[in-house]
Subunit: 402 residues, 2 copies
DNA sequence: GGACTTAATTTGAGTCGCGATTTAACCTGG
DNA sequence: CCAGGTTAAATCGCGACTCAAATTAAGTCC
């Protein structure tokens, strides 16, 4: 039912500022003429809008290129120093706070352990605030120049309209995280599921670049997915879309920690793979005391793990085939820490299994690849949220001018 | 990445015409003041735009309502006679052509059998043209006043940019249907998968009214789905999204006609249910010679069909749970001819099974209901495609004025 | 019949994007 | 060194747009 918003004459200018900014941001440096050609706007309007953007400090001229006989082109780019962004990665064991400039270069970091396993929300909120202060102090960036703070959290984020987080794995039930954070900061907050923000990082800077639709399949201890459709993260009615781990792959199959049976997560998550190896061989995998990650790494070198891993590829391929059939994406991107560890070993088997289980036509339109960014991209992805807003608003919501 | 289109000053007026038209179309009759409140536009602008719409014949005044002491409100509505729409339903056995006015009231119908099972594309194209001529002649509507022709077809429709149809069930491999139809008509064509156009009919006029996201699950001989997200049909990268029937519900399970094993369609489509009944009892269901539809109807009255039907509800519920987990829709709507036949019997079991297999949170946000329109809604849904375009363009693309 | 209410239109001002024109900044060739 | 050529960018005038305020229209009520 398309766009239901009214248009005022101001929206015109804001929209065109946004169109030009997105172009400059995604394609690097361009001339005014390039912008006119790329957007379809007249050269007059581009010139006019760009001069306004330069006056606002959002865009800067960046050298020139001589042409063959005429006035040289002036190159334009987004002013990386015009503002800053904060990305926060709330994990189950750590909180990471990272400060970026507009080119997404890291300017400062702070990193804290969480001993309560993330259950203690007040302590977590305190650490986020401490991290915020730390990155601002260390970099000397004044708070007024921060365009926003993106926070990636484990769990479903509902916007009602304030962000409320439901996180089973950390025992959160409707934690009003936005309100809690708001008590100690006035910066714009963007709270989002960590898997979705990682997916966005992968789309902007990783294996998803250039695609407008993709599904990022994340395999860690459990299994999740981030769906990108028409260039934007797909959230569904209450932001819990993409719960791929609990789709049924085997009716009445293995018990899953969600209480149901036969979930994909009960077969292909790190925990499930280790369990299945134990059942298969009767022994625990080596290095099991080094944690799940070490155990999975050890599994790859274990001689008798072959059948378990091959079978995992079959399950995973079937799960991916479901994604292909239902979402018809341009790409499937395999990520998550276990996905990165197991990926190279499993990928051929996964591709074969997906080809068997998916319909020919959508399978032919997609490719199955490994991710390019690691799990530490959550903070980066979280920082893209205020950036997305900034660009879409045409670089208004500008912090206090210098 | 949001809207990448430039804005010109003309888009403003067209956009606001569109906003007002959508309001009038969806909510029936409104006054100018209602429109101003609903859209946020100023009363001045609404008055201005509406007078233009009235001058163009798109909108008409429709009586007035006295207010308590002031000037009476004038009611406005879309002029149902301003133009007409054609919906074509291409099935495997029939072609139906239907003419509607803008209020979607049927003005004429034509209906032809297809003996080739739809394989003979040239014959089909001839019948569509014959139907077009017939409905126009019978109703006396001149072709210039038809805003467009929507065609719902069995198979995947790829827009490259001309619509090309891939239909396994009718043996079509890349049939350039748009080009073929274009040879004999200049009317705007909108070719779409029949399941998706039925889904759109259900969203506009059936069980989906008022929802902005839903999945319409269609059970016929096979199984399919139409996904609606953010108020628009979700198509994916190459328009084949929503192939729910071939998601895997049981690894290495029953063989499916697609060649894979364990597809949902191998358990819950009409064909599969009848097969499973035969295997269960060793006998064919009564009235099997009356076709699948009669056989399914007979099955419902058969004493020993209980276990097969109960088990079907379990499978169907698990498949629906996958949709809930992945798409997080506001509603699940159960349709298709077999879905309508079996629905009342299966629904309690389906709901219970979906509750067991879906995550608590997204399951709590959705409801599972029966559809309100029958399979004959394909033509209606196809006719909504030109209507959607007409409204989104603000009632421009107007046929020659009377 | 005059005061009051509410709906709708008109008016005047401020913005916007575009096409045409002008200015700016460079090259080349004699 | 300088006229002529070439391309990029800025400027100008025009038509179109929305909005707030003022005005007109069409009723009710005492």
């Amino acid at each position: 039912m398309i766009d239901r918003r009214r248009r005022t004459v101001r929206d015109l200018r804001r929209g065109n500022r946004s169109v030009l900014l997105w172009q400059l941001y995604l394609r690097g440096t361009l001339t005014r003429n390039d912008l006119a050609r790329a957007t379809g706007l007249s050269a007059a309007t581009v010139s006019n809008v760009v001069s306004q953007l330069i006056r606002d400090g959002v865009v800067v001229e960046d050298g020139s290129v001589e042409s063959d006989g005429g006035r040289p082109h002036v190159l334009l780019r987004v002013n990386a120093g015009h503002g800053h962004l904060v990305g926060v990665d709330v994990g189950e064991t750590r909180v990471r706070v990272e400060l970026f400039d507009l080119s997404m270069a890291t300017k400062a970091k702070a990193d804290y352990g969480l001993d309560s396993g993330g259950r203690d929300v007040e302590a977590l909120v305190g650490l986020i605030h401490a991290g915020l202060r730390a990155v601002l102090d260390n970099s000397g960036v004044p708070a007024e120049r921060v365009l926003g703070v993106g926070v990636g959290v484990p769990g479903v984020v509902e916007h009602t309209p304030e962000a409320v987080v439901h996180g089973q794995t950390v025992g959160w039930d409707a934690v009003p995280l936005e309100r809690l954070l708001r008590e100690d900061t006035t910066l714009p907050l963007f709270i989002e599921n960590g898997a979705k923000s990682m997916g966005q990082a992968e789309m902007w800077f990783g294996a998803g670049r250039g695609a407008s639709s993709a599904v990022i399949a994340l395999i860690g201890s459990g299994v999740g997915a981030s769906v990108v459709a028409n260039g934007a993260t797909y959230r569904g009615a209450s932001s819990s879309a993409g719960e791929w781990g609990h789709t049924t792959i085997q009716i009445d199959g293995r018990a899953c920690r969600c209480g149901a049976r036969g979930c994909l997560e009960a077969y292909v998550g790190a925990e499930a793979v280790l369990d299945r190896y134990r059942e298969h061989t009767g022994t625990a995998p080596t290095a099991a005391d080094g944690g799940e990650e070490a155990a999975v790494a050890a599994l790859l070198d274990t001689a008798d793990a072959g059948p378990v891993l091959d079978r995992t590829a079959v399950y995973l391929g079937a799960g991916i085939a479901d994604l292909i059939n239902l979402f018809n994406p341009q790409r499937i991107i395999l990520g998550g820490w276990a996905g990165m560890l197991l990926g190279p070993r499993l990928l051929p088997g996964v591709r074969a299994s997906a080809a068997r289980h998916a319909l020919r036509h959508p399978f032919g339109q997609t490719s199955i690849e490994l991710c390019q960014l690691g799990p530490e991209a959550v903070a980066l992805g979280a920082a893209t949220l205020p950036m997305e807003r900034f660009l879409s608003q045409g670089g208004t919501a500008v912090p206090a001018a210098p």
